[in-house]
């Protein structure tokens, strides 16, 4: 089942209480596709980088089954660069540098070979760019998942609402859900946001797990209690990659199967935070992933007979 992701491929500089990296591959589409290809044979990428991007990084992606035909390389320009520093609690971070570079005028091109994709991830980008991608696909995918952030709610709410009305699943964090809906209660926020278009809503709560809403149904996946969160960068995008990669691999978009997809996404995300950037995902094995999914089962499984 073909999967397409549009998002950022970038360089990050990261600083956490455990150390730092001055230049490491990052970006939403990178984490997403590394996670997704754990489940599905191929994830095609639409993104843009500068000519500072390393051929070895592109080859790493290809070796993982990531299709890079839609990765534009702009001669004489620099890749998107983000630098951040995490606080002791790992839940808050300061953005030190955001250099848009090639991202400033990103014009997403869809290679012909990508047409007909069934599963589409619209990573966090300008809403108009997300819209262009959907417009440039000749057939609407079977399932469209989208991410966004509070920044777009502040400066491009009208565009954001237009694209939201056209997607199936919105995946955002709790703070964003509250800002988008104006509701503090996540139950009320979910209802308000689903009324804007998405039939499914995922609210990511970081170390507190994730909620999946659909109509009047709700499902909760815990985050695994971890000894140490080393670097949270990319956890949300890895989650989305595991989620949609699992759906693409199974070809089943029922609510029951989405629950499994949320657990798989949570498991992948729990590895992502164990090392810097995508380092842990790059070395992850299928056996480790299955063992961790079993830990999720053990963590929440109980057996109650009701009178």
């Amino acid at each position: 089942m073909s999967l397409l992701v549009v998002g950022t491929v970038a360089f990050d500089a990261l600083e956490t209480p455990f150390g730092k990296r001055d230049k490491i591959i990052g970006g939403s589409a990178t984490y997403f596709s590394l996670a997704a290809t754990f489940f599905t044979q191929q994830a095609n990428l639409v993104a843009v980088v500068g000519d500072d991007f390393e051929q070895s990084d592109i080859e790493m992606m290809q070796s993982r089954g990531i299709g890079t035909e839609g990765l534009q390389i702009k001669a004489g320009e620099k890749s998107f660069f983000w630098s951040g520093r995490y606080h002791e609690d790992m839940n808050t971070r300061d953005t030190l540098v955001t250099d848009l570079n090639v991202l400033a005028d990103f014009d997403p091109q869809i290679p012909d070979s990508y047409q007909g994709c069934e599963y589409l991830m619209l990573g966090n980008l300008t809403p108009t760019v997300q819209m262009q991608v959907l417009d440039r696909l000749k057939e609407r995918p079977k399932l469209v998942v989208m991410d966004t952030m509070n920044f777009w709610m502040e400066i491009a709410m009208d565009d954001l609402k237009k694209i939201m009305a056209r997607v199936d699943v919105l995946s955002i964090n709790d703070e964003e859900a509250r800002q988008l809906s104006g509701e503090y209660s996540l139950v009320k926020a979910a209802r308000a946001i689903m009324a804007m278009g998405p039939k499914f809503l995922i609210i990511k709560k970081g170390e507190h797990g994730a909620l999946l809403f659909h109509g009047n149904e709700a499902f909760f996946a815990p985050a695994l209690p971890l000894e140490e969160v080393f670097d949270p960068t990319g956890a949300g995008d890895s989650f989305a990659g595991g989620f949609l990669g699992y759906l693409a691999a199974t070809g089943d978009t029922s609510f029951e199967n989405m629950k499994r997809a949320v657990i798989n996404g949570s498991a992948i995300a729990s590895f992502c935070v164990e090392k810097f950037g995508p380092e842990r995902l790059a070395e992850l094995t299928k056996k480790e992933l299955n063992n961790r999914i079993q830990e999720f089962v053990d963590l929440v499984q109980f057996d109650i007979d009701l009178d």
Copy 2:
């Protein structure tokens, strides 16, 4: 199976974004015993009040199966009074007034009829008072659960450590677990705290659920996503009452049964926050409770076949 709780019985003044109550019955032992008697026939109370306490409140307790022989009534003195105001997010509150009154020199007396109790809850009190209760029981109960708060960690850590070394289960919130252990990671905090004595540790995370630790095992119970949290007062004590009431009713202190107890405690706590003070617990039916436990099952239940 006999259950004894020592804690506070008090008057509270509460203010939330939804309204206020100037004088409402409260206190840890009140919430605990109202929740516990949903499961077990009788919960005996050791606490102290002033002669401002209403006979009708004592009769309400007795009608619920709460044993009040150990409720001291001090003539010419006033009951413990606490007043608090909750912020919009309901996770933070300001204490406006704390009048210890009769609690200042509380000397817990154990009626002879309470001796031989099998399940003991040491509610949040001065650690030396908790110690007195344990010392005054001729036989050590089968299971001793204890609550405490950061205030005692700051002013009476030595006493706190002495009583902690003698209990089976400690039930505290995430902030308290971090302060007590000096560890931010709850996994590390749990290990450090269990090394201080308790074989089981419950870490309550409010709207983010609760974790149960034992040795290398962990269990997570979500909080139900609620439309509205009306008043969080007493949620933690109701949780403990449901937890220990369920264990007392089933007579089974295995880790597997503690998981069920945590779910039952979470279900009771989810009702407690729906109205002011103990108003919702007072009107709760067994059928409503069972329906809610089914909601917990539905919220976390998933079915994954691992390769």
